[in-house]
């Protein structure tokens, strides 16, 4: 009986630790340890690439129910991408990324935030309210790297609580967001690293890339949705010889356009 109690307690502790790891554990671990801190990391700049930290959805079925979190590709994708932004634009960008959540007011200091794997986010009502307020004040959310119908539904489950009254719209190719710096007329699906294992550019049942958004009363995109693509991998693996240049190039152009759009509209 005593052994059984210890076993149950051990199992509970393991499960709690797993949850904690899933939520917060990868910050300060894993990839970050492999990526050196840039020398000018503390430079005060106009723009700071800011990642949204959110609680993950762990329901659902099959293997897709447990993958992904806010820290996917962190921080290599962020730092690689910022080097590209520095080189390709006049934007004064910090080399070191930043992370904010929806529990405090720090988010309001960063009018652009990037959410990854949002097919697994699960926002509380308070977080939905905070995100809505952030976006209505003029903040911009870019979401990326979530795939297929299941993750879309999970994404919408929280987004529809952020904006119950605003639909998700498909973005037309003529939208300013695709022309603000680069004219992105030929859009293709930007695959993640999984392409090397599956041989496909899509994941799950997300065959077609979806360029969507939630707009404000004046038609300005507040939430830029990049579904069925993995721009984060195209940034992170820009220096990986076997990752095709055409995807990296497109990924950078899309990312830069979204940032410039968020600073002009």
């Amino acid at each position: 009986m005593r052994v059984r109690n210890w076993a149950v307690a051990g199992f509970v502790v393991f499960m709690l630790a797993s949850i904690m790891y899933a939520q917060f554990g990868r910050r300060g671990r894993g990839d970050e340890e492999d990526v050196p801190i840039p020398a000018d990391a503390n430079e005060a700049t106009e723009f700071v690439f800011t990642r949204l930290r959110y609680p993950s959805y762990r329901g659902g079925s099959g293997m897709w129910g447990v993958r992904g979190s806010w820290s996917t590709d962190y921080p290599s994708a962020d730092r690689h991408f910022m080097q590209g932004v520095r080189r390709l634009t006049r934007l004064h960008v910090r080399s070191l990324e930043n992370v904010v959540d929806l529990d405090g007011d720090e988010i309001f200091n960063y009018p652009f935030i990037y959410g990854v794997e949002v097919g697994h986010w699960d926002l509380t009502d308070a977080q939905c309210k905070k995100l809505r307020e952030y976006l209505l004040r003029g903040g911009f959310l870019m979401v990326d790297d979530f795939h297929g119908s299941f993750e879309w539904e999970v994404f919408l489950a929280s987004l529809s609580r952020v904006f119950p009254d605003r639909p998700v719209l498909d973005l037309d190719s003529k939208d300013h967001i695709f022309h603000v710096l680069y004219d992105i007329d030929q859009k293709v699906q930007v695959p993640g690293m999984v392409m090397f294992y599956t041989g496909r550019t899509y994941e799950q049942d997300g065959v077609d890339p979806k360029w969507a958004g939630v707009v404000d009363d004046k038609g300005r995109v507040m939430v830029g949705i990049c579904h069925n693509m993995d721009l984060g991998d195209s940034w992170e693996h820009a220096d990986l010889p076997r990752y095709p240049e055409k995807y990296t190039s497109l990924g950078y152009r899309i990312g830069i356009n979204y940032i410039i759009y968020s600073m002009t509209h």
Binding site: R90, D105, P111, L136, G138, L181, T264
Partner: protein
């Protein structure tokens, strides 16, 4: 008392000259007095029985007496000019305006004036002079008797009336003017020209004042300042001035109505009696077109004159939107949020150029696909087409010398508004010190780099900024100052250096170190305006406030309107008053410039005047010989109602521009204002012309003193002064004092 001692009134002394009629020269009097004093000194000083101080006192008294007696021997007299009896005209002008029908006690002011004239003044004047009786209103008109005075003149213009009287003096020997009035002049006082004309003829104007100098309970609107033009969708700020008696510390309502509909309404606390109080009233301008704005103060009971509580003004809301060019050197958050603020504003068009990469410029708000496709305008004409300009964080060297010259010309010659923003590549850090911007900037920038800091800074308004059109986030200056203190901190700030003389600092930045720094500074330069805002971090006012908060947008919209509101078009027409209260003269002034905004003086400029009856008359506007590019015309609005002046300018076949100005004539209004006796004006008029102000009870003095004048046909009179009672009194005093002292000292 003066007259009792000196035989004549003091004013006669001031008009006349003191002369000595004795045969001996005046210098001999000085010698005689000196000799008498010396002789007395020798005699008195030898009497050693008295102490020195007492001998000196006696010597002084005796010397003074000797001097007085010797002076009398030289026969002092007063020489003064006086009007020859029956050979001069005295013009008696009675204010016959509506304000004179105000009841004072049991009779009107006009009744009192009539009574003053009929009870002896006219007769006594007629005994000595030819008297001409006039009614005064907008001018003067001769009347036969006082019964012809009806108090029906719609306005009082004392200056014009006096000028007319001076005109008559050219053909008549007018020796003096007597004006019976309450001083309620509707033209705001007597102009210098009219006064100079009367003074040149040396005609003394004697005034007799009627009416109370202060009402017990009354509030009067004295001024409503509103721009004649404004932008569509803009908010207007009316500066409302009023003065009251009997309602100190009471509350009243300040109300603005447009076409009968209330558009603003706020409570004001009335300050001390008799003091002019100025309050601000903000309201939306309304739809395009001419708008009649009526501002009134309401909610006071028992006023003695309730007709002076409201004033009307005409404001033309423009249909065309001024265009502002915003050039930003790099992507910045402020760029986005400034654009958003402008998108809420219907009154302006914002065209922006953003340098996204070293070689790419992103355009927003352009009129067509080719506009500004090569970036910042290379030609001055292209830039001068805009009304306002914002230069964001961009280094001065980005602009060619021609472009820098064009920016300077944009302010100086074109009359546009320019706003410079802080930034890592702006102002001192952007090399503006070594550019042509130095001249137009309202600050002397620091002569060093690294002046831009990405550190937080709070903001505070200066006294000048508490009630300024750009920085006003609340009608109350105190609340406004508090709001600014509580704004979220700026994301960054820049050291601006020293404000230039004439510049106005509206707001200051308060970083955690470095003390207080100028943040928002403005100044006029040439025909235009320049402002500098030493930050690119106002976006935090948007992101750190609730999404419904409008402070950030309001500030930027007001900033923008300040840039463009007074920017003239190539042809701009104006008239000094948009509402003519009981007056008919509407001077029109047009200023014409070419494409590079140089004055044009050889154009055909015409005003098509449309009056209230719908009839259109074309009036040529004449070039002003003293002001290049300025054309003038005078229009007489002979009927009450609305008038439209549509001014066009042509040179040959070239159309140089068109502009409109609206104005209204309203009758029966002016005489409701300024009903208290304006004694100050009457006294000033008298003293400036050598006359005197009298109360109705003092007319006997007037009859006596009116004789002394240098106008008309005069004779020089000499009046002895030796027999003045003061002389004998002095002799007695001097002798009596000596006797009294000697008695006390036991020296008698």
């Amino acid at each position: 008392m003066f007259e009792l001692l000196f035989s004549y009134p003091a004013r006669i002394f001031s008009k006349g000259d003191i002369v000595f009629l004795g045969a001996a020269p005046l210098w001999a009097l000085g010698i005689a007095i000196g000799a008498a004093a010396a002789g007395l000194g020798l005699l008195i000083m030898r009497r050693t029985s008295l102490p020195m101080a007492r001998r000196a006192t006696i010597w002084t008294l005796q010397s003074l007496l000797a001097a007085l007696l010797l002076t009398l021997l030289w026969q002092p007299a007063l020489r003064v000019s006086s009007l020859k009896p029956q050979q001069n005209v005295v013009a008696v002008m009675v204010d016959d305006s509506h304000s004179m029908t105000t009841v004072e006690g049991s009779s009107t002011r006009l009744d009192q004036a009539r009574q003053t004239l009929d009870s002896g003044l006219l007769q006594k004047l007629s005994d000595r002079f030819q008297v001409r009786l006039y009614r005064a209103g907008s001018g003067i008109e001769r009347v036969a008797k006082t019964a012809d005075l009806k108090g029906q003149q719609v306005a009082t213009r004392l200056g014009d009336s006096l000028k007319q009287a001076a005109g008559e003096a050219a053909t008549l020997p007018v020796g003096a003017v007597v004006l019976l009035s309450d001083g309620a002049d509707n033209s705001g006082g007597i102009d210098a020209d009219s006064l100079a004309e009367v003074r040149r003829l040396r005609i003394p104007v004697h005034t007799i004042g009627f009416g109370r100098e202060k009402f017990d309970k009354d509030l009067e609107l004295t001024q409503v300042e509103l721009p004649a033009r404004t932008l569509n969708g803009a908010r207007l700020s009316a500066q409302v001035s009023f003065r009251q008696n009997g309602y100190a510390n009471r509350k009243a309502r300040l109300v603005a109505r447009s076409d009968g509909k209330t558009i603003a309404n706020r409570e004001v606390l009335l300050k001390a009696d008799g003091r002019t109080q100025t309050e601000t009233l903000l309201f939306a301008a309304g739809n395009p077109g001419p708008r009649t704005i009526e501002v009134s103060v309401e909610g006071l009971d028992g006023e003695e004159n309730a007709k002076n509580n409201s004033l009307r003004r005409l404001v033309t809301v423009e249909t065309n939107k001024p265009r502002v060019l915003y050039f930003e050197g790099e992507p910045r958050w402020d760029y986005k949020f400034i654009r958003r603020a402008f998108e809420e504003d219907k009154s302006v068009e914002l065209v922006s150029l953003l340098r996204t990469t070293p070689n790419k410029v992103y355009r927003q708000g352009v009129a067509n696909p080719t506009e500004l496709e090569d970036g910042f305008p290379a030609k001055a004409e292209e830039l001068l087409a805009f009304q306002g300009l914002i230069i964001g964080g961009v280094e001065a060297s980005y602009f060619t010398p021609t472009q820098q010259e064009a920016i300077k010309m944009f302010v100086d010659r074109r009359g546009g508004g320019v706003l410079f923003l802080g930034g890592r590549a702006g102002l001192a850090d952007g090399g503006y010190n070594a550019s042509q911007f130095t001249e137009i900037l309202p600050v002397a920038l620091p002569d060093r780099k690294n002046t831009f800091h990405r550190d937080p800074a709070n903001t505070e308004l200066t006294p000048a900024g508490r009630d300024n059109l750009i920085t006003r986030l609340d009608d109350s200056p105190d609340k406004n100052a508090e709001i600014w203190k509580k704004l979220p901190y700026l994301a960054n700030f820049q050291e601006l250096g020293t404000p230039k003389p004439g510049a106005v600092v509206l707001a200051e930045a308060l970083p955690t170190s470095k003390g207080r720094l100028p943040l928002l500074v403005t100044q006029n330069f040439g025909r235009g305006r320049v402002a500098v805002l030493a930050t690119a971090g106002t976006w935090r006012w948007r992101m750190l406030n609730d999404h419904a908060d409008t402070k950030h947008a309001t500030f930027w919209q007001q900033m923008l309107r300040w840039l463009v509101l007074d920017t003239p078009s190539r042809l701009s027409v104006s008239t000094p008053k948009t509402v003519l209260s009981d007056e008919s003269q509407a001077p029109l002034r047009a200023e014409l410039r070419d494409k590079t905004y140089l004055p044009v003086s050889d154009a055909l400029v015409e005003a098509r005047m449309t009056g209230p009856d719908g009839i259109t008359i074309t009036v040529p506007m004449e070039p002003d010989p003293l002001n290049e590019g300025v054309y003038n015309a005078n229009w007489t609005a002979d009927k009450p109602g609305s008038y439209l002046a549509e001014v066009t300018a042509r040179r040959g076949d070239e159309d140089l521009g068109k502009d409109l100005v609206n104005f209204r004539r309203e009758d029966g209004v002016a005489e409701n204002f300024g009903l208290e006796q304006n004694r100050e004006l009457l006294e000033k008029l008298s003293s400036e012309t050598g006359g005197h102000y009298y109360k109705p009870a003092e007319i006997n003095k007037l009859i006596e003193e009116i004789t002394f004048s240098e106008a008309g046909i005069t004779v020089r009179e000499t009046r002895d002064l030796w027999n003045m009672p003061i002389v004998f009194l002095l002799i007695l005093l001097l002798r009596g004092a000596e006797w009294f002292l000697r008695r006390n000292w036991g020296a008698v």
